[in-house]
């Protein structure tokens, strides 16, 4: 009971915070919520299976671009629904063609996917519609976006918690441990991976759709920024991608650090981030939370 009460209480407090903060702080909170949602949704699939998806921004950007294209012709809820459907269809296409094979094909495909989608949209806009760049005029305040993003965080983390308790979660963990054993114990590998990947990618697309009104002006180079994919992976890894709260623990400090770096070192921050990423892979391969557990166990052994 208490395990459920604390997150719900936290959510209520977070939902009430916009009443007390400034416009700038609210912007920061939207950014944090965006990355918590992205990292949690990413970890929903990649955390247990160890199938590293490098295509976060392909889905995120698709979500944002869908809103940019449709925001004047459809009501907002329908736009969001369309974004979700397009994201799911894209995930099914990627998943069906790569997840039946070994993991490396999936990684390679997702590695180039963002660039592919970006070039296709650019080509389409330049040659067919003749414009590059679109405007998003939606009657949404920063608070509305914050609440929607908070809801997406809650959905991503809640869904992960729920999946962890179901047969699907068990199957995903088995696949991450040993795919051959998992297949022999009767798990339908491709279907299991496909379901989890589609859920994860759809959530990421929705995050992009919800975040998009903050930009006002959208063009492929802006929304398909590879840094988003990069940050999502490093955040989830830092906290611990196979832990329920790991992505959240990694996302909040890294987002603040990223903000600080991009303001103070606008030219060199990718270098810092890359070095940090390598550092995380080397020093904390299982994340901070697992590191803390190890430390506690080590202290416990020493205490005896």
């Amino acid at each position: 009971m208490i395990r459920l009460a604390i997150p719900v209480l936290g959510l209520i407090i977070l939902a009430g915070l916009p009443m007390f903060v400034s416009e700038y702080e609210l912007g920061l909170m939207i950014g944090m919520a965006t990355y918590v949602a992205l990292a949690s949704a990413w970890a929903l699939f990649s955390g247990h299976t160890h199938y590293i998806s490098l295509a976060t921004v392909a889905f995120y950007g698709t979500g944002a671009y869908t809103v940019a294209v449709l925001n004047e012709s459809l009501p907002y809820p329908a736009v969001i629904l369309c974004a979700g459907l397009i994201g799911a269809a894209m995930a099914l296409l990627v998943g069906l063609s790569t997840l039946r094979l070994s993991g490396i094909y999936f990684v390679i495909f997702t590695f180039g996917l963002a660039e592919l989608v970006r070039q296709l949209i650019t080509w389409y806009e330049v040659t067919i519609t003749g414009t590059l760049g679109r405007y998003i005029f939606l009657d949404l305040t920063a608070q509305d976006i914050y609440w929607q993003m908070l809801a997406l965080c809650a959905i991503a983390i809640g869904l992960t918690a729920w999946i962890n308790r179901t047969r699907l979660g068990l199957a995903l963990r088995a696949i991450g441990d040993d795919e051959i054993v998992a297949a022999h114990s009767g798990i339908h590998l491709a279907r299991t991976k496909l379901i989890a990947f589609t859920i994860s990618a759809t959530l990421i697309t929705l995050v992009g759709a919800v975040a998009s009104p903050r930009w006002v002006y959208v063009e492929p180079l802006i929304v398909f920024n590879p840094t988003v994919s990069f940050l999502t992976v490093i955040m989830a890894l830092l906290g611990g991608a196979n832990r329920l709260w790991g992505p959240l623990v990694g996302a909040i400090p890294l987002f603040l650090l990223f903000e600080w770096l991009s303001v103070n070192f606008p030219d060199t921050y990718p270098i810092f981030l890359g070095l940090m990423f390598i550092g995380v892979v080397f020093v904390l391969p299982n994340g901070v939370l697992a590191g803390l557990d190890d430390l506690r166990a080590w202290l416990g052994r020493r205490g005896k």
């Binding site: 160890h50 660039e115 270098i271 390598i278």
Partner: protein, 288 residues
Amino acid sequence: MTTLVLGLVLGGTYALLALGLTLQYGIARIMNLAYGEFTLLAAFVLVFLFQSAGLSPLLAIILIAPAGYLAGWLLHTLMMRPLVQRAHGKPGKLEVDSILATFGLLFVLQGVMLVLFGANFTSISYLDQGVNVFGVSVALNRLIAFAICLVAGLGLVVLLAKTRWGLILRAVALSPGSAPLVGIDVNKVSRQGFALGTALASIGGASVAMYQTFSANDGVVFTMKALIIVIMGGVGNVAGALAAGFALGLVETFVSTTFDPGLTLAATFTIFLAVLIWRPQGLFGRRS
């Protein structure tokens, strides 16, 4: 005919790039996502040497190739070796770790290049007078780049197939578990394979710089194309990588001349999808 000649010239560079990547993945078992960044780095160094020191690109390549080997050697020793040791022979663990580590490296190198050389498109004009090849006018610099790729690529194929050293490399690629039984130092050979791959990447990059415009953000595209060629040819299959490289060069030139240059990556991906669905073991690979 124009498409054929230009496509073969482009394919030569791709084949060389794919050859380097297949060495790294086949021998050292490291999936290097920062591969295209090494290519670009070599391209920038060539432009820098040409513009500031007035060094002829042909001379510069002779300097860049060993530098690439050295960079790969250092990278393997400092960064990849600890990951190999940590994986304790579990290929899945090494794969995930190396993908993540080189993904981080990609951003470091890209950041360094953006700081040093800026985000603008860069090119040099070097020997750009036309030469008549089978009735098609091809710039001389393209032909030289093609010759360099051909010499480096075919030279390596011969070395791998005919020499004792090539036999050792192939033994490690085929069966890293059994190679120590016949007295092969797998770690040393992996390092050589990885460094050789980086050297090929830098030769490829330097030859790209001689005839093409490029920018610091193009690394991902180079890596992607090299990866797709490797898969088309079958992982670790050197001759397959060469053939697939030429094939991709032809298809790309065809698409960009008949349809639109903006669709070349889409064409690459379409081929990739077709290969994945039809022959995941590679066009020239055997079913395992």
